[in-house]
Symmetry: C2
Subunit: 154 residues, 2 copies
DNA sequence: AGACAATAATTGACATGACATCGATGTCGT
DNA sequence: ACGACATCGATGTCATGTCAATTATTGTCT
């Protein structure tokens, strides 16, 4: 098996398994991994428009995450408001319930990050990080990660 | 941003972008990345049952890939046969058309692998590979990669 | 003002993925 | 033989993801 091919499948496998682990841990909170990413972004970066949110999301890298936000709104976790100065945009905020869930999500993520670091077992993650940064540079979801690395939390 | 968190999102981003690149390149062939994985496995590893295929697939790591194969069968790329000795098992083979497409898929994958190696830029991929192997070890799709590494091609 | 391009979000269509459940079929113990 | 159990696939349901087309609204140019 060519090294690049194995790496490609390992990235696919890691994403799938990481997502499954996260999904199971998030299940008691009633949210999916994608929904959790939205909640965390709204918690850390205050009000966002759908477009602004889309530029920070790694999941749902393309178009606008309307349907993703729809479910969070239906669940009472996200508040939507149409500002008067531009009725094309939608301003998203966490409700009180949404903020509570978002904070629990942060705890769940801590566990997963600990598992990632334990899998590293002293190996330097810098090389892997640099490689992946290079691979996704200039692509939509790569830019999303870069934007989130740029500022405070996220 | 915590290193493990960035790495987590980079893996997600790399998987998404890699999949999009592959999907665009496969579009002229009329197959999706997941379908391409099935075709390649059938090309390299002769007849497979649905269960056997499922154990080698990294995508669709869970249950049985019935619906995935359904579309390939509907497209005339995969032949299904029910052996007499155990009518529970379905034997999958490539049709002639399926073999032609599978061979073209192999060429498309070469391009993507070249792009991966170019993103590596001399960086050692061994560390990244070892880290990801460790992370997915013992999990379904991690085992699938290991099984494929174990034998001849794939 | 009026035509027209640009922007933001929604929606439709299609294929995955994950999980649970169901039906058919073999196997095995008695 | 027969009934419990295991195995394999198929199917239902829900939530993503991706792309393209549509709608509503705003900015711009003449």
């Amino acid at each position: 098996m060519r090294p690049a091919e194995e790496l490609r499948y390992l990235i696919l496998a890691a994403q799938r398994e990481g997502n499954r682990i996260l999904a199971r841990r998030l299940q008691p909170l009633g949210v999916t991994p994608s929904q959790a990413e939205v909640l965390r972004l709204l918690l850390d970066r205050g009000p966002l428009t759908l477009k602004g949110l889309g530029e920070l999301l790694v999941c749902e890298s393309g178009g606008s995450p309307s349907r993703l936000v729809d479910r969070l709104h239906a669940a009472g976790l996200v508040h939507r408001e149409v500002p008067a100065h531009d009725r094309r945009q939608v301003t998203l905020t966490l409700t009180d319930a949404g903020r509570r869930v978002a904070e629990e999500v942060a705890g769940v993520e801590e566990d997963l990050h600990a598992r990632i670091e334990s899998a590293a077992q002293g190996r330097a993650l810098d090389e892997a990080t640099a490689f992946l940064r290079s691979f996704v540079a200039g692509l939509p979801s790569g830019d999303a990660v870069a934007r989130r690395r740029g500022t405070a939390s996220g």
